[in-house]
Symmetry: C2
């Protein structure tokens, strides 16, 4: 494909995407596709000779589109959002078109420096402690996901606690980690991958608001020490997946400091709320954290993947993950004057992901980002007030930010049937969780183009399809 | 940014990228930027209010461009290539614009099904064993990098060998893994992350062609068993990073089968050569592999990230990595009729990366891909013949495919000075490695737009700047 053909097809595709965004609201949010349906429509073997771009785009329209659940629809209220925006899409396009690698500073200095710079911006924008900035002993890096960041936090904590002995001789000492029963599954996955063993992950009980109970954490650590175990890691969550609960970070931090445990903060979606001064209280206590993770790709209009991972002491992370073969040696690395991000995560190769974050921040400006986050929270609060007013329903957890957990008082089966009926209409999409063993509906409001009318129509539909008692 | 603004700015950016590809040859390949130079030009704080897209694009031109090393330049011969192509860039744009998540089949069925389908295509295109296809017990998945795939292979092997006991109780038994001294650093990194310990990674010696010595592997396994260790994993490389050596996979496979060790094949770049029947011999013996990894993002015109990872038995991988919290439960998963890729790697969230691979395969067709791969190999062979004819230089390793390792006979210092002088011209970029302790220049030919004239000019420049004896 020549440069001129790329220009022509690029325009075609941009036009298709612009039109997609204009009609997305009319498409059924959840794909109605059956297992195997797309595969049955595709040729069994790869084509021997080239096909036209027009043929490919036609297949996108006819075959791919019906198989999509439209995450960018304003009627998407499921899971946590993965909201993206036009400037972010353009940043991703630029990154792909440049096609540079950022594994070393030397392999494209701008790729590393823009990332460091924009993550320093983010630290200030979110009111994070100064020790997470590159001007200190710490620093930030873009990873693909909170799962990968959690793994890096666990492994760095493991090495710090064993004086890097595990990296050398393998896991031996009975290391023990702590989270709450509500923590995201990625922490359990990381604990397994890192060779700690799931049996050594303690799930600390939560209070009525589904937040970790510091007293229970303290007691468990004491028991474990008495049993000869070696506590090393705590993950506290700022906005759990099921109910958006916020663990009491300040008290957990005190315990971690006293017990010398690595404190990781998983602020996956809700950390973005701290863009707004009125939600900055969520950060209380993170001055004791060793690492912190927040997803710009959830609630900050930056398309996946863009997890921002910060460490208090970058040397520990780098010493944990660094392997420097001859073919990567270079003068800049040896000068010690640069950051080489290859040592900050599992992969070696890396895309120029800072571009999209830079574009998003510059396009919206801090005030623009605050405006949209506030609007989502307002809409969620409005939705919660409607739930409160309908006696068939109840709120199941505090709706502090943009997630409302609610249920029909009629019991689990009614709620599950209601959810399936709602999603089958194609007019909205919401998902469930279980809290206190009960089936709960989750209304997560965070899509870029969601407005009051979408939330209102969703509530009307819920009211309409819900049984009267 | 409205849909119409996106349309306009999208066209602007596509035009900028088309022009970039047209002028890339004239830009200095290696960035001349100094540490801190870009950061000094950026505002210290994020902007409070939004800026125009034109301002951002102007900064890309003036600030970012000088900080890039142009990986897509036809004069880029460093490391291994990370070649991309116009259809791939358009696939990435489409993926970003759709913004769907593929963690579960249910979260966008097309995202999962296209990936499975295209990876089955790839298995056939590369002549891989049928057990790697989804119609068998195995299957393929797109990961970000060979490093992440290696980690998954190590962890799955660890669990298979300990009957999933490590996942439950943590690493205890003295597990031992094997690679050659030439294996990519990602394996050592994976061994550390997985809690095996680097001391338990045996680096098996290589022969004169830098390929693993099966006899030495066998002897080491025997010694380890005698010492009470528990051998569990071997990584064989199809095309090492330093010299493109190919380990004797058939003989290593026999040993692995007899000793019941997991055999992982790292075919990072060179596996792509097996698109061509005449290079299919490289696959000899992989019918004994448990896992296989190849990077479409290195030599198959698909921009990073697009690592294709195959396992012989998907159940082992899934059982190793699966964690199913309530909020991810859904009818399709519970029916057992679908693949949920979240269980196949570290991250949970995932982009629709199959689109770009699908676009690339359809745009080029299998014959088109073969044509370009053959052309790169021919150019490398031509370059090698020129080196042979100049008595100042010598070839240091067999140039089987598209990498030529050579050096000036004048010793390490002369070669290092020569490399730095060459790269400082801005007219080409090549990097080094060490083989048998000697500094070696690597000429890797695999950029999408590299033609004979670029290779010829590179050789002329090398001849010109090389000392006469």
């Amino acid at each position: 494909m020549t440069a001129e053909e790329f220009r022509r097809h690029g325009h075609q595709l941009v036009d298709w995407l612009a039109d997609y965004r204009k009609r997305i609201e009319e498409l059924p949010v959840v794909s109605q596709s059956k297992p195997g349906e797309l595969r049955a429509a595709l040729p069994e073997q790869a084509p021997q000779t080239g096909e036209s771009f027009e043929a490919m785009l036609a297949d996108v329209e006819q075959l791919i589109l019906p198989g999509l659940t439209h995450w960018q629809s304003p009627n998407f209220f499921a899971y946590f959002p993965a909201n993206c925006s036009a400037p972010s899409v353009l940043g991703e396009l630029l990154s792909a078109g440049l096609g540079v690698q950022g594994m070393l500073w030397a392999t494209s200095p701008a790729c590393t420096e823009l990332e460091t710079h924009v993550l320093d911006w983010m630290a200030d924008m979110l009111g994070l402690p100064a020790f997470f900035k590159s001007s200190s002993q710490g620093g930030g890096v873009i990873q693909d996901s909170a799962s990968s960041s959690a793994l890096c936090a666990v492994v760095a904590a493991r090495e710090r606690s064993t004086d890097f002995e595990t990296n050398r001789t393998g896991a031996r000492s009975p290391l023990v980690a702590y989270t709450s029963t509500q923590t995201h599954s990625s922490v359990a996955k990381a604990i397994k991958i890192a060779g700690i063993g799931e049996n050594n992950l303690r799930l600390i009980e939560v209070d009525d608001n589904f937040a970790m109970t510091p007293g229970a954490l303290e007691a468990q650590i004491k028991d474990d020490r008495a049993d000869g175990h070696n506590p090393f890691f705590v993950c506290a969550t700022l906005g759990t997946t099921s109910s958006n609960a916020v663990d009491p970070i300040a008290r957990i931090g005190e315990i971690c400091e006293r017990e010398r445990l690595w404190l990781h903060i998983d602020a996956a979606m809700s950390g973005i709320a701290t863009l707004c001064p009125e939600f900055r209280f969520l950060n209380d206590g993170i001055d004791r954290a060793d690492s912190y993770s927040v997803n710009a790709h959830k609630w900050m209009f930056t398309n996946f993947d863009c997890n921002c991972f910060y460490v208090r002491n970058r040397k520990v992370l780098i010493d944990t993950l660094s392997v420097l073969p001859e073919y990567l040696r270079n003068q800049a690395t040896e000068s010690g004057a640069v950051i080489d991000y290859r040592d900050w995560h599992v992969p070696l190769g890396r895309r120029f992901r800072a571009l999209k974050l830079w574009f998003v921040i510059r396009h919206y400006g801090v005030q623009g980002l605050q405006h949209h986050v506030r609007r989502h929270v307002e809409l969620a609060q409005q939705f919660a007030s409607w739930v409160r007013e309908d006696e068939r329903f109840e709120l199941v957890a505090p709706a502090t930010l943009n997630l409302v957990c609610f249920r029909h008082r009629g019991g689990d089966e009614i709620n599950e049937v209601l959810m399936n009926r709602l999603n089958a209409t194609g007019k909205l999409y919401l998902t469930h969780s279980k809290l206190d063993g009960c089936f709960v509906l989750r209304m997560a409001i965070g899509q870029t183009d969601t407005e009051e009318r979408h939330v209102q129509r969703a509530w009307e539909l819920i009211q309409q399809l819900a049984p009267s008692s």
